[in-house]
C-alpha cells in the first residue's frame, strides 16, 4: 500500500485551517460590534473553560484517572506568564508608556507566551503524574487535590507575585481571536489523539489497566503523558485568562474552580462535543445565578448548591456513563495486581 502524496494529504487540510482561521478572525472582529463587553467577556471565559475542560477530559474522561486539582495547573500557567509580562513583557511591548502597540505584535507576543505557560504547567503535570503511577482512584484524587491546594497556598504567600493582594497590571494581550483559536486547536488536538494509538492506549487503561499492561501498554508512561498534556492545555488557558482579565488572584484557582472543571467533564460524559457544550453551559450558569441571587436577595453564592444538585442529578440519570468517566474500574479477580 502506497501512501498518498504529501500534497494530496496536506493541501485540503491547509485550506481547511486557513478557512477556520479566517472564520475565527471574522467572528472575533465582528462580534464586539454586536455584543457588549460583558457578553464578550463571558465568551472569552467559556473558551478558556473549553481549553481547560478538554485537557481534564483527557485525564479523567479518557484515561479514567481522577484528578481534582486541575485549577492548580491553570494557576501555574497564569502566574508564570503574568509575572513575565509584568516584569519584562510590558516594557518590551511599550505598553508602559501608553503607546498604541501593533495588535499583530501583541498577538505574536502572546503566541510565544502561551507555550511557556503550557510547559510550566506540564512540568507540574509531570510532578503529579508520577505519583499517579502508584495511586489509584480515591488516593490519586486526594493527591491531586493536595497539589492544587499547595500551589494556591504558595502563591498566596509569594510576595513576588502579589501574594494575597493578587497580581495586577497584567497587559491585556488576549483577544477573542486568540482565545477562540486556542479552544479550536485544543478540541481538534484532543479529537485527533482519540483516533491514535496514544488515545486508544489511554482508553484501554480506563477500561482495564491489568489487561492493557498485559497487551504491552506502558500504563505508567501513558498515564503520565495524559497528565502532562492535560496540564499543558491548562497552562495555556491560564495564560490566556490572565492576559484577558489583567488581574489574577490565588482565589481564582481554588478548589471551586477544579470542581467546576470536574463537573464539566462529568456532564460531558466522555464525549468531546458534550464536554464543549457543558463548558459553555457551566460558564453561563453563574452569570444566570447572579441574576437570581440579586433578585432573591440571597446572602450566599448559590453556585455550590447548584453544582452539587447537578452532580447528584447526573449521577442518578446517567450513572453508568458517569462511573465510566470518573472512576477507574475496580474489578476483582485473582490476577488483579
Amino acid at each position: 500500500m502506497s501512501a498518498p502524496s504529501p500534497w494530496h494529504h496536506y493541501l485540503p487540510r491547509l485550506g481547511l485551517y486557513l478557512g477556520i482561521g479566517a472564520l475565527l478572525l471574522a467572528v472575533s472582529v465582528g462580534l464586539p460590534h454586536v455584543l457588549n463587553a460583558y457578553l464578550i467577556q463571558i465568551l472569552v471565559l467559556a473558551a478558556c473553560n473549553i481549553v481547560l475542560a478538554v485537557g481534564l477530559n483527557l485525564i479523567n474522561g479518557v484515561a479514567g484517572q481522577f484528578s481534582i486539582g486541575h485549577a492548580g495547573f491553570m494557576a501555574l500557567g497564569a502566574y508564570v506568564t503574568a509575572w513575565l509580562s509584568v516584569t519584562y513583557g510590558k516594557r518590551w511591548l511599550g505598553a508602559f508608556d501608553g503607546q498604541a502597540v501593533e495588535p499583530v505584535l501583541v498577538a505574536a507576543y502572546l503566541v510565544v507566551l502561551m507555550p511557556i505557560g503550557g510547559l510550566t504547567a506540564a512540568l507540574g503535570g509531570l510532578l503529579v503524574g508520577l505519583p499517579s503511577l502508584r495511586l489509584r482512584g480515591d488516593y490519586l484524587a486526594i493527591a491531586t487535590l493536595g497539589f492544587g491546594e499547595i500551589i494556591r497556598v504558595l502563591l498566596l504567600n509569594l510576595e513576588a507575585v502579589g501574594g494575597a493582594t493578587g497580581l495586577r497590571g497584567i497587559p491585556q494581550c488576549s483577544s477573542l481571536f486568540l482565545v477562540l483559536g486556542a479552544a479550536v486547536v485544543a478540541v481538534a488536538v484532543m479529537r485527533n489523539l482519540g483516533g491514535s494509538v496514544h488515545g486508544r492506549s489511554l482508553l484501554a487503561i480506563r477500561e482495564d489497566e491489568t489487561a492493557a499492561e498485559a497487551l504491552g501498554i506502558d500504563c505508567a508512561h501513558a498515564k503520565t503523558s495524559a497528565f502532562v498534556i492535560g496540564a499543558f492545555f491548562a497552562g495555556v488557558a491560564g495564560c490566556l485568562y490572565a492576559h484577558y482579565t489583567q488581574f489574577i488572584h490565588p482565589r481564582s484557582f481554588d478548589f471551586m474552580k477544579s470542581i467546576e472543571l470536574v463537573l464539566i467533564v462529568v456532564l460531558g460524559g466522555g464525549s468531546l462535543r458534550n464536554v464543549v457544550l457543558a463548558a459553555i453551559a457551566i460558564t453561563l450558569l453563574p452569570e444566570g445565578l447572579r441574576l437570581v441571587k440579586d433578585m432573591a436577595h440571597l446572602s450566599f453564592d448559590p453556585r455550590m448548591v447548584i453544582y452539587s444538585a447537578l452532580l447528584i442529578a447526573v449521577m442518578l440519570i446517567r450513572r453508568e456513563r458517569v462511573l465510566q468517566a470518573v472512576a477507574p474500574r475496580r474489578k476483582g479477580g485473582e490476577s488483579a495486581a
Binding site: A3, L193, V197, H198, A214, G216, S225, G333, S335
Partner: protein
C-alpha cells in the same frame, strides 16, 4: 514464587518447545494462574528465572514481557468492554504505531498510513475468527462465547510467540468447547505459536495437549502425555482424594 511466608508455587521447572502446546492442570488453588502471573511479570519471582528463547523475562514489568512476545488471556474475561471490538484489537496493536504524539495530534501523513494499515490488519484478524461483522459493536455487548474468542484474538494482535490461555473454555457448552479446540489447534499452525493452557475441561486438555503438567498445592505432581496423565495414580488421587479400602 511466594507471598510473604506462603510459598504459592515451588520448584517448578518447565521447558516448552516451539509450537508445542503444554497444559497446566490441577485442582483449584494449585497455583496455575500464579504460574501465568509469574511469567507475565504481574508477580515477581522469589527465586529462579524465566526465559523466552534465551532472553530473560523474569524481572521485567508486565508490558515489557508482552513486548518480548508473550500474550495472554484472563480467567475472568478482561476485555475493554466500553470500546468497540475493532478498538479492542487496535488498542492491542499500539506497538505498530510508528508515529509520535505530535504526528497524532496533527494527523500527519504517516499517521494516516499507519492507521490504515492497523485497521486493515485488525479487520483481517476479526474476519479470520468470524468476528468481522461485530467490528463496530461494543465488546461488552457480545455473547459470552464471542467475548472469550475476542480475548484470544486481542492477544494475537500483539503478535506473540508464546500465548498463555487461562481457562478459555470456562462457561462454554460442549459444542462451543469443540469449536474452541479446533481453533486452538489451528492457531499453532497459522501463527506458529507456542501455547501454555490452563483448563479444567479434561476433554479439551486431552484433545489438544502435546504434554500435560499437573500441579497440586503449588508443586508439580506429574507430567507427561495426556494418556500417561490420565492413568497416573498421583493425579487421580489429587482429583478424587485418597483411595479408601
Amino acid at each position: 514464587m511466594s507471598f510473604g511466608g506462603l510459598i504459592a508455587v515451588d520448584d517448578l521447572s518447565l521447558e516448552v518447545q516451539p509450537r508445542e502446546l503444554v497444559s497446566l492442570i490441577g485442582p483449584n488453588g494449585a497455583g496455575k494462574t500464579t504460574v501465568f502471573n509469574a511469567i507475565t511479570g504481574v508477580y515477581p519471582l522469589a527465586r529462579g528465572v524465566i526465559r523466552l528463547e534465551g532472553a530473560a523475562l523474569s524481572g521485567l514489568p508486565p508490558h515489557r514481557v508482552a513486548h518480548q512476545g508473550v500474550g495472554r488471556t484472563f480467567q475472568n474475561i478482561r476485555l475493554f468492554r466500553g470500546l468497540t471490538v475493532l478498538d479492542n484489537l487496535r488498542a492491542a496493536m499500539h506497538q505498530g504505531g510508528d508515529y509520535d504524539l505530535i504526528r497524532a495530534a496533527f494527523r500527519s501523513r504517516r499517521w494516516a498510513a499507519t492507521e490504515a494499515r492497523l485497521e486493515a490488519r485488525a479487520r483481517d484478524l476479526l474476519n479470520v475468527f468470524g468476528l468481522g461483522a461485530r467490528a463496530e459493536e461494543l465488546a461488552g455487548s457480545l455473547p459470552y462465547g464471542e467475548q472469550r474468542r475476542l480475548e484470544i484474538v486481542r492477544a494475537l494482535a500483539t503478535e506473540p510467540r508464546l500465548l498463555l490461555l487461562d481457562e478459555p473454555a470456562a462457561g462454554m457448552n460442549p459444542a462451543e468447547t469443540q469449536r474452541l479446540m479446533e481453533l486452538i489447534r489451528s492457531l499453532i499452525e497459522r501463527f506458529s505459536l507456542t501455547i501454555l493452557l490452563i483448563e479444567h475441561d479434561m476433554k479439551l486438555v486431552m484433545g489438544v495437549s502435546d504434554r500435560v503438567v499437573v500441579l497440586n498445592y503449588g508443586r508439580e505432581i506429574a507430567r507427561g502425555t495426556p494418556e500417561q496423565i490420565a492413568h497416573d495414580p498421583a493425579v487421580i488421587e489429587a482429583y478424587l482424594g485418597e483411595p479408601t479400602h
